[in-house]
């Protein structure tokens, strides 16, 4: 048995359930950016006590998914385009590196998983369910990041992508964006499958750049 295999079962505590639920609520756009979150309301809605809720909020604050201004309480941060750009730039840095590493080290079975997730996105791209598109696309990246051989790269990437989930949902609804996204992702996949590190890097870079451009369009038009 590998010594680093963690056999511990993790009990679901109220705090963790709450973090997960709120995170999902934020992803799905339940709260408007800039809107305040009222502790007492959330407590009744979630059916938990204030101390538990406040612990959960502190976790989300550290993840930068919410902001907590002293004496004003938690709110959904309004993401400026400046910050969004910065996030896309770092995301490019990380994803390019991950795709490159992935190309030279992914296992055959994980490669099949990657292909499956690409198919799933292909199906979602033709549908009207924009949440499904975002989710399946996220799966695709997850597999790449999980196979780049660097858990920190994966962790940091997840944190960043979470913060631009707002844009992802909107730009994936853009006319034609899902289809072009699909072809870009297919290119990434082909490069990785061929073990071509350089090509994987380049394809990955192009993909992020276009995602960023799409996000800008959706922001300019939508606001």
């Amino acid at each position: 048995m590998p010594p680093d295999l963690n056999l511990r079962i993790s009990p679901r505590s109220v705090q963790r359930e709450t973090v997960d639920k709120l995170r999902l609520a934020i992803f799905s756009g339940l709260f408007q950016p800039g809107s305040r979150l009222i502790e007492s309301q959330l407590c009744t809605q979630l059916g938990i006590s204030r101390p538990s809720l406040r612990e959960a909020l502190r976790s989300l604050e550290a993840e930068r998914l919410i902001e907590i201004v002293p004496n004003r309480g938690p709110s959904i941060p309004a993401l400026s385009w400046e910050v969004a750009t910065a996030i896309y730039e770092v995301r490019e840095l990380l994803e390019v590196e991950a795709a490159g590493r992935c190309a030279s080290r992914i296992s055959p079975e994980q490669l099949r998983e990657l292909e499956k997730s690409l198919s799933a996105f292909e199906a979602a791209a033709s549908s009207n369910d924009s949440l499904a598109r975002v989710m399946t696309a996220a799966d695709f990246y997850s597999i790449i990041l999980a196979n780049c051989g660097n858990p920190i790269l994966e962790e940091v990437h997840r944190g960043l992508v979470a913060r631009i989930s707002f844009f992802r949902g909107r730009s994936m609804s853009l006319e034609g964006r899902a289809q072009s996204s699909l072809s870009e992702m297919r290119e990434i996949f082909e490069s990785i499958a061929a073990g071509d590190e350089k090509a994987a890097r380049e394809a990955s870079k192009q993909h992020v750049l276009k995602a960023k451009a799409a996000a800008k369009i959706s922001m300019d038009s939508g606001l």
Copy 2:
């Protein structure tokens, strides 16, 4: 007046004070890796109530500075060399990028600040105060990261460096490491001052690689 200048003074809440104090305590190595943190003890030591402490602990957990296992409570994670390697690799990615950008965009006065921090490190390098060495070195990087034009790059970097503060303290105590570190940092500074982006990238890369090697030595010898 720039419209994005945040004039809001942030009241110091007990929670934030606690996070800062604990973070500093962790940096300075007050807690052994792997050791558990007992809530009741911390409460009396810090003179605060359990809810406030628990909120602070959740923040630190999200920063990955502590681990909280359900029903076992918080503890200082023992950093494996595998994870440390992963952190150094991502740190390299970020720092190289930051140094490169910095070279082509830093302002003259910030460049002077950078020079001052280099001098401060030079002084610390000759002293015996290893905490001062770590702190002044951290200042040097901070200035570079703050002037790379990407706040996210800075934020992510800070989070990663915090997690390897343990190693930084130990490797800075290594015979000769501070001096070689100094010459590497000087090289970075010179490249940035000359506006030579490529050289800044290369110097930065070498610096991180050597820091990583020093960390490995200190780990192998010290454990």
